[in-house]
Symmetry: C2
Subunit: 334 residues, 2 copies
Amino acid sequence: MTNPVLVEVTRGNIVESTHRGSVAVVDADGGVVLEIGDIDRPVFPRSAVKAIQALPFVESGAADAFGFGVREIAFAGASHSGEPKHAALAAAMFDRAGLSPGALECGAHWPTRQEAALDLARHGQMPMALHNNCSGKHSGFLCTCQHLRLDYKGYVKREHPLQQMVREAMESVTGAVHGIDNCGTDGCSIPTYAVPQRALAQGFAKMATGVGLAPKRAEAAKRILEACMAEPYYVAGTDKLDTRLMQAANGRIMIKTGAEAVYCGAIPELGLGIAIKCDDGAVRASEVMVAAALAKLMEKDEELAAKLREFAHPVMHNWNGIEVGTLRPTQALA
Amino acid sequence: MTNPVLVEVTRGNIVESTHRGSVAVVDADGGVVLEIGDIDRPVFPRSAVKAIQALPFVESGAADAFGFGVREIAFAGASHSGEPKHAALAAAMFDRAGLSPGALECGAHWPTRQEAALDLARHGQMPMALHNNCSGKHSGFLCTCQHLRLDYKGYVKREHPLQQMVREAMESVTGAVHGIDNCGTDGCSIPTYAVPQRALAQGFAKMATGVGLAPKRAEAAKRILEACMAEPYYVAGTDKLDTRLMQAANGRIMIKTGAEAVYCGAIPELGLGIAIKCDDGAVRASEVMVAAALAKLMEKDEELAAKLREFAHPVMHNWNGIEVGTLRPTQALA
């Protein structure tokens, strides 16, 4: 099955590029509310499932033991831009847990926000693991190990007890098998497992409603989603769509991107989960897809839907600020 | 017509993302040697046709009048990385022509090579128009105006005499109409016209062979292609595929990328032109497509073909240097 074109990139009056993709919107019982393209093809959710991967951090009592609030819990589910406030929060979490940033096994890279990278350079600094966009998730991992008195060395590896806990959470929430056959390695070195989009969407509906989850897990899931919606800057960063979208929805939508153009999230008031994948891995297109799909789902609230539709219709400017083109959802999404 | 999947992105043992595209390889008389996907759909060639856009710079006598050599001629057809040597060459050309960099109308942006951007920041500097990846092409434009005593103000606009010269060159080489209906604005503010891939490929075959071009134009075309092949660093930059590919082919292949994943180029010894477009605009995929297509065309030279095939099979590493996946051409390209 060939997924439909969901996003067009225009220049002048001509379509210059196109993006295909698939969209699954599912309730906690597996009822499909919206299905575009093939939602049964296995997809690596990458960072889009960080909220699920953060369950052990909350369930184990680590977050509470170290006195962490919504900001730190949101940050454990973040792909941040490496801005000073992000690196500082990671450092503060380490400090609180009696850990050193040297424990991080995610690797270092320049902040994804160019301004932040240039600022480091201006001050003669080099990026550290704290600037890695995954350092929040890894802080959660390491604090969990510390709280449970697990040797954290090798905590990114598939067989490490921490990753076994993460895998158990992923399997129980999505209902999908996470085995060696569907396992890949993520950018930050932890395992990522390709599972059907349908299962990811249902998993996020379960996270939002607690349906089908043990009470303790349901409570942790609710805390994590609410933390992300309360602190969207710490889930992403300045000008990131995830941040802007959650700010616009003001506590009514939780949404998270993952590498190679994945989006997962939930609309708690509708009891729905959403999972999106752009075939070609283009972030720009997955952003239009998620904004358009959410606008459709929230159409009864015309004010919010209008804001979401605006995110689904970005205008492109060139280096002189001249408008040169647009991105827009196709009929299949509108 | 749906273009076929030409590139797969793998993670572990699973295909994570896919890229569709089209490939046209045509001789100077319009004979199609290789046709994959829809090669009659209009495509904005963007920067992939800078060699054609540089024709007035050579034909007008501007390049010779200012004593420019192969390096400057190659640079007039460049999309460079904004490295110090690139900015310096642009500045030197202005100097020679009695112009100021303030004449540039391409806009400023941080060098596309991250190392170069960070180095500017380390020295407390901001990017100038000289760092714009198109400053070489614009230097050629401005030197042409200067030589012809044309008022260069507004030289990026469609109706300016310089752009009329560029358009005439584009139309005569590609044989395609460049009108208001297929006109868009490029990143550097000059017009770009969507024309069929077939016409672009044939145009580059004409550039390489001189067939169908007036003698003076044929001579200028040959000079430009040879200059690009002789100075690939000044056509692109450090670690850029265009540079590496032309270095590997050592004067036997001219190739040039354009934004939104276009490639145009020529293989003079075969009398062929090539034009490639990845549907979704992904550079990583267009790089695999062009390397794989060139490997196929050069298969009689096993040593060169092997090098080209290597470019068509890049391995992806994560932040810890662990191999996480690959890009590879599909059967449709192999």
